[in-house]
């Protein structure tokens, strides 16, 4: 026969459980943030260490809004036709009508 639980004991367990979840998550945040910091620092290091750093990439001037775009879509190295195709594919894959999606920018990624 299962034993019913004391209300006071249940309250303590509930509060303690919620606190443990927070504590565990807080520690996890700390660990994830530390790992993230270490990763980003490692990724940034070679740039600082380079003896003659390459000139900073010139900030591209703000692109005009793509013709016919609903919103403020900006295209970088992407022809209008390709952009239209990409947006249509994304809408089709997501099964969301294209007019319910918002594309901010489309940029061609150049592999080094």
């Amino acid at each position: 026969m299962a034993i019913k639980m004391n209300v006071g004991e249940a309250l303590i367990d509930a509060v303690m459980g919620y606190a443990i979840v927070f504590l565990g998550i807080a520690l996890l945040v700390l660990v994830v943030a530390l790992v993230g910091k270490a990763m980003t620092a490692k990724a940034a290091k070679p740039l600082h260490a380079a003896p003659a750093p390459a000139p900073a990439p010139v900030q591209e001037p703000p692109k005009p809004t793509a013709p016919g775009a609903a919103g403020d879509l900006k295209l970088y190295d992407t022809p209008d036709r390709d952009a239209a195709m990409i947006m249509a594919i994304v809408a089709d894959e997501l099964k969301i009508p294209i007019n319910e999606l918002r594309f901010i920018s489309i940029r061609e990624v150049h592999r080094k």
């Binding site: 509930a14 927070f22 994830v32 943030a33």
Partner: protein, 401 residues
């Protein structure tokens, strides 16, 4: 002539139709009606159909008198410490029906964990890595778990049963099933049905609470774009999280271990075939077995009780209070960040992925049509999966002995 009549009589008394009118047979008819309602909700209303249709059909099969696909009495003896068949899978294999054999996967906690491999393989933790503060919203949204647990104790449930009911508030089906299997196997049917039904009802349950607890100004907040997360970070994340959380709370190992394993398959870039199998074939096969075998536990004599009604009510309370917990901490973060965090994303901390994040997106856009919260809400949403696994791990640890 007598021989013919006797044969016909024998056929009639052996038939399920006859058994409906013997003893508590009418209860089976009620359960068949319940199964039909669940099938309607799954097929017509599309309430979590992948699982609800299986659960409903399992419910239908198990309540057809004489079908003999699932034998509750075998499992009662399996769980009875004084029985010679205590924990005897051999007897289940020898004497059980088809669903008894499939149910072994639930009983051994295999299906929920395998589903978590698929969930991990389908989850992008990028938004969470980019903004680790989202983790707190995933933790906050476990409020309903502990609130409902306390409520269940007040309503007279035992500690383990209350813990299994409370975890419905985690809005995570596999976690609910695993916890119920370990802590309150007799309540598995109603708990699973409540969990999946409320998950499907999130777009109806959450918005009124969101509008009640937040101002128009808060809901309209546009959040800054998330930073880009490197491939290496995404690969390291599941390894670190699995090791850290399991070391902290070993009882979370089946859930967190499988979730993070699935995610690692997704992110490594060298196990695409395995990731694909985990996301599709494995997930579908396990969902199929899980649904039908969980549905089969809804035997009329166990399901048609006041306790089921209490579980259904407590499940709703759990979902509401989880949403409230997430929103309140979201509001706190809004204040602390000087209005940079939209508190609506707190409601996405209940883990129902990606439904809860979509609800936050929709509500945010109603307040500000140029608001795009989906990616921001995905952080707390996937954090909720980890949060509910930790909550379940705690409850299993405390009440599992």
């Amino acid at each position: 002539m007598d021989k013919i009549l006797e044969t016909l009589k024998g056929l009639w008394t052996d038939s399920g139709f006859y058994l409906f009118f013997v003893g508590d047979g009418w209860k089976s008819l009620v359960m068949i009606a319940v199964a039909c309602v669940l099938l309607y909700l799954g097929i017509k209303k599309k309430f979590e159909p992948l699982l609800l249709v299986g659960i409903a059909f399992g419910c239908l099969l198990t309540n057809l008198p004489g079908a003999g696909l699932y034998h509750m009495e075998l499992w009662d003896e399996f769980l009875n410490e004084s029985s010679p068949y205590f924990h005897s899978y051999g007897r289940i294999l020898r004497e059980g029906g088809l669903i008894d054999i499939l149910y072994i996967g639930v009983k051994a906690g295999v299906y929920p964990s395998l589903i978590f491999i698929g969930v991990g393989a389908m989850t992008d933790f990028g938004p969470l890595i980019a903004n680790p503060k989202s983790f707190f919203l995933g933790a906050a949204a476990q409020f309903g778990v502990f609130f409902a647990f306390f409520g269940a104790v007040l309503l007279g449930f035992t500690g383990p049963a209350a813990a299994a009911i409370g975890i419905i508030g985690g809005a995570d089906g596999p976690t609910s099933i695993l916890t119920a299997t370990l802590l309150a196997p007799a309540l598995l049917g109603p708990i699973a049905i409540a969990a999946y039904s409320y998950m499907a009802l999130i777009p109806m349950i959450q918005p009124p609470i969101m509008r009640l607890l937040t101002t128009e100004k808060e809901r309209a907040v546009k959040m800054e774009q998330l930073r880009e997360v490197s491939k290496t970070e995404k690969i390291v994340f599941p390894i670190v999280v699995a090791a850290f959380v399991i070391l902290l709370l070993p009882s979370t190992a089946p859930l967190i271990g499988c979730l993070m394993f699935g995610n690692l398959l997704r992110e490594t870039g060298v196990t695409e075939r395995l990731s694909d199998v985990a996301q599709n074939a494995l997930m579908n096969i396990v969902t199929l077995f899980l649904g039908i075998s969980v549905g089969a536990t809804t035997v009329a004599s166990r399901f048609l009780t006041i306790e089921t009604l209490k579980i259904v009510a407590l499940g709703l309370i759990a979902f509401c209070f989880s949403t409230i917990g997430g929103l309140l901490v979201g509001k706190l973060m809004y204040k602390l960040s000087g209005g940079k965090i939209n508190p609506l994303i707190g409601a996405a901390g209940v883990s129902a992925v990606p439904m809860a994040a979509r609800v936050a997106q929709v509500e945010g856009q109603k307040a500000n049509p140029s608001n795009f919260l989906l990616m921001h809400a995905m952080g707390p949403n996937v954090a909720g999966v980890i949060g509910s696994a930790i909550a379940a791990g705690f409850l299993i640890k405390v009440f599992g002995a």
